[in-house]
Symmetry: C2
Subunit: 360 residues, 2 copies
């Protein structure tokens, strides 16, 4: 199948450090190539792939000091993607709603995976105006905020099994991994570490918008003996930190659409202690692959219980549900279904925009 | 002619207080209706017009506490505009590049007036990819940052002549009007007032992004006897303040694309003391309708000279160059030229995106 993968330009594909969306695009792209498909990757100029590479700009926008208007860059890249639409059987965008206007006018069907939060009132009306576009959610709970949008599937994220090393024995510390911002709950993780006297390692980036929160609220909490702040880490270090942990602590307080770090932990055999928000209950089976909790008191109890969990079934769960081949084959099934609907004359709801717009 | 006017949704058309773009869209729309054209205005739900009204949302986004994702609202409005493209001879957008993807696929030609700053590196490559779209600059100097873009005309802004009252005698104070932010130079205006002992009135809004700058840098300068801070004012108060001023002081230090307040001053017969940036030399004739200066020392000298300028020629200049009928007729000339090029098979550069994109 001839597939275009369209990544955001904020991080390279794969990203060097943090960057969930670009990471998943990379895993999916590489696995589709391995399965024999003809894949073209539209991504920042410093991206690396075994697919056909269609670079935009010199480097990822987050690392480019000359980048001013990222939206304009995305608008331009998408115009280039759809100019080449006839070269592809399917166009798979990871750029939210920015390609909708072009998708509407394209004979090549568009799949959009929505990676971000959807609890934003303007989104459902917008997507509902484009029923000819096929939306994929990364968890079922992600859909709750826009139940009427043109969903076609939920596809959970997947990782290459060789990327993370299974560690059969539980480690000695709790790990907080990812990004520091109010909704990620690192303050709760610190309080749990202090109460339980189990050391906490924090490997996380701080975005510019969260710098004030970090300095005023989090940095004062970092001085105790239980807490070690490591900053942002690369994949090698992440693998070591995850494998060596007693548990990943994921005290989110927002509707996290997926939470890639949870399946990275499972790949290492490391249980996850997570607050019941967003996708958590879909990814983690309480009492089997981790502990799904509500309060900080329950997190404290969960630390003791995490130590008792057998780590082997966690890796098995990862291999069964969350490896990159499972993800890629699920996406291929989605693509094939859309193409067969297209060729059978379209079982989909007809597009309300199609009749009146001045398409040439 | 059947004309769609597409306004940004951030302010109502016309805006209640500050809002240059929406104000100009209102003047143009009303004057096109008065000249006998069939105009449809796409704008926020609290907009008021004598054209056909196509409201979006309950109210302007800046005043709507439930508005989260303004970009999504604009993407949705533009889809609705182009769904109705066949109803219009021309679509005139004031929403920057957000409609480009749809304009490319529409048989109805699109004119985009660029109201904002263009010294952003991503813009020229983007607009150059859409040569079938007709761009209008609001000053010639505005084009300097993207000389290769598909410009078709410069159309200066215009105002209804009855909106501002000519005042034949010079007033006693300097006026700073508009918005407080570093590039608007209100600090320079305050220093000039202190040095010359001519009182300064400041009628300006402070955006949320500029609140810290206002508190740290400007508020401490407001306590002297020369300076009176009035906050944001409505049109009636603006008319009084402008007419009663000795001069408008416009010490900008950025490439202001037009500067509507300069022609509002001329309409009252009030001279403009402005720093030579952006459109200033195009709008103000030095020594005749105002003083075009570079340094604060020159601003100080200009205060004395402004008192000596005859105010009658300023109003005449306004009526000759900057009234709303002049603007509307100039736009009509642009629309007619584009339509005749379209009907004659197109003298314009062929669109490079047209051939390959999967238009239906």
């Amino acid at each position: 199948m001839r597939i275009a993968q369209v990544a955001p330009l904020y991080e390279s594909v794969p990203p060097r450090l943090y960057g969930g969306t670009e990471r998943v695009v990379s895993y999916l792209t590489e696995e589709l190539v391995r399965l024999g498909h003809d894949v073209t990757l539209f991504a920042s100029g410093d991206s690396v792939t075994s697919a056909r590479r269609q670079p935009f700009g010199q480097r990822a926008l987050r690392l480019d000091p000359s980048a001013v208007d990222g939206l304009a860059s995305h608008m331009r890249m998408l115009a280039h993607v759809y100019r080449r639409a006839a070269e592809f059987d399917i166009i798979h965008c990871h750029t939210d709603y920015l390609g909708l206007h072009l998708a509407h006018h394209s004979k090549t069907p568009t799949v959009i995976t929505l990676h971000g939060r959807l609890d934003i009132p303007e989104l459902e009306p917008l997507y509902c105006d484009f029923p000819e576009v096929s939306l994929v959610s990364v968890s079922n709970t992600q859909r709750a905020y826009m139940p009427r949008a043109p969903w076609v599937a939920t596809v959970h994220h997947g990782l290459p099994p060789e990327l993370f090393t299974f560690q059969p024995r539980p480690g000695s510390y709790l790990l907080f991994l990812g990004r520091i911002s109010p909704e990620k709950g690192v303050d709760a993780a610190i309080r749990v570490a202090r109460y339980t006297k189990v050391p906490l390692r924090i490997a996380a980036k701080v975005d510019r918008v969260d710098q004030a929160y970090f300095e005023s609220t989090i940095r004062p909490l970092l001085d105790g003996p239980e807490v070690e702040y490591l900053g942002e880490v690369d994949d090698r270090r992440k693998n070591e930190l995850l494998g060596g942990a007693l548990a990943l602590i994921f005290p989110i307080d927002w509707p996290e659409p997926f939470g890639l770090v949870m399946i990275e932990a499972l790949a290492c055999g490391t249980p996850v202690i997570a607050r019941r928000r967003g996708s958590v209950s879909e990814v983690i089976r309480h009492g089997e692959t981790g502990l799904v909790v509500e309060t900080e008191d329950e997190m404290v109890e969960a630390v003791a219980r995490a130590r008792e969990l057998d780590r082997i079934p966690l890796r098995r769960e990862f291999e069964r549900r969350f490896n990159d081949q499972v993800m890629a084959e699920h996406y291929l099934e989605v693509y094939r279904r859309i193409l067969s609907e297209k060729h059978s004359g379209g079982l989909r709801i007809p597009a309300p925009l199609a009749a009146a717009a001045g398409a040439s």
